[in-house]
Symmetry: C2
Subunit: 150 residues, 2 copies
DNA sequence: CCTATAATGGTGCATATGCACGTATATGCA
DNA sequence: TGCATATACGTGCATATGCACCATTATAGG
């Protein structure tokens, strides 16, 4: 007899009821689509908005800095930056001191596009917050920051 | 003079401090990688585990049912199912009554793999929960469910 | 100075994600 | 019955995601 491991029905329920990964990922897809829609006419997606906005607040970070900040693989960052560079929204320059490092900076068109996106962001963010019970917000914030420390 | 919209420094701070989308997505990437590592030797990723486990608890759902459950685009679901079907972990059959509908069911190899993955899931889920302040958990749960209702 | 090691970033591959659009089937209404 | 509409699903496209592996540059230790 093959002793195929048996799948415990209680386990199935446990996963459905308590899997943190599933909850976060599912919410991530849902909220991502919502912001994507808000930025659609600017041909921006939620990820690009976040990245450009962070860039606006930081002095010429390296690719590595950015990947860390976004909790993203470095190689993913490299490729995603390329899309924005092609559109002229940011510029990528080698560091003058360290030949390994590349530094990323927002361009004027990038800044301009961000300014256009700002109102859409605010409206969507407020709408999302309204859907979340106010008492639950601080807990969510703290928990998400624990999962991906700033 | 071109009246290029100006990017308000206060806005930049506001986005960094309060963008729900960024927080959820960043945490999603981080936690996804963590579970991916736990399942790596089984050649499963976190998404596939979630999907197969949900399949184990549901009687032959349609592709649409599954996409809704996972808060995912229908066409993404179609394609992702294909990978698991190729590996024989699930079976896709046309509905006998409605020619448009396809129904998905877990196979024995799928069930067996899930049983192997179960302990890894539990250990990782517990570890993640330990990293989250206990008081923050219920709020996160409620908030994520509000963002992507079950 | 020279070499071992570390740090930084890129490529190839596979899968994941969503939208616009297309096809096939079912259903409601004249 | 016959057609308009709705529903379920698939394809083509572009981008996103991460891993294994590779190339280049910096740095520490002799």
């Amino acid at each position: 007899m093959a002793d195929t491991p048996v799948l415990d029905p209680n386990l199935i329920r446990e996963v459905g009821a308590s899997c943190v990964c599933m909850r976060v990922q599912r919410a991530g897809r849902a909220i991502g689509r919502r912001f994507d829609q808000a930025f659609r006419d600017l041909k921006l997606n939620n990820w690009q908005f976040t990245l450009l906005m962070w860039l606006a607040s930081t002095e010429a970070p390296s690719v590595n800095d950015m990947a860390t900040q976004m909790a993203m693989d470095r190689t993913t960052m490299t490729r995603n930056l390329r899309v924005l560079e092609r559109r002229g929204l940011l510029a990528i320059q080698p560091d003058t001191r360290d030949g390994r490092v590349k530094r990323v900076a927002l361009t004027d068109p990038g800044r301009s596009l961000l300014a256009q996106a700002a109102q859409r962001w605010r409206a969507t963010n407020e709408a999302v917050k309204r859907d979340i019970p106010a008492a639950a917000l601080p807990g969510m914030w703290e928990a998400l920051d624990a999962i991906a420390p700033t």
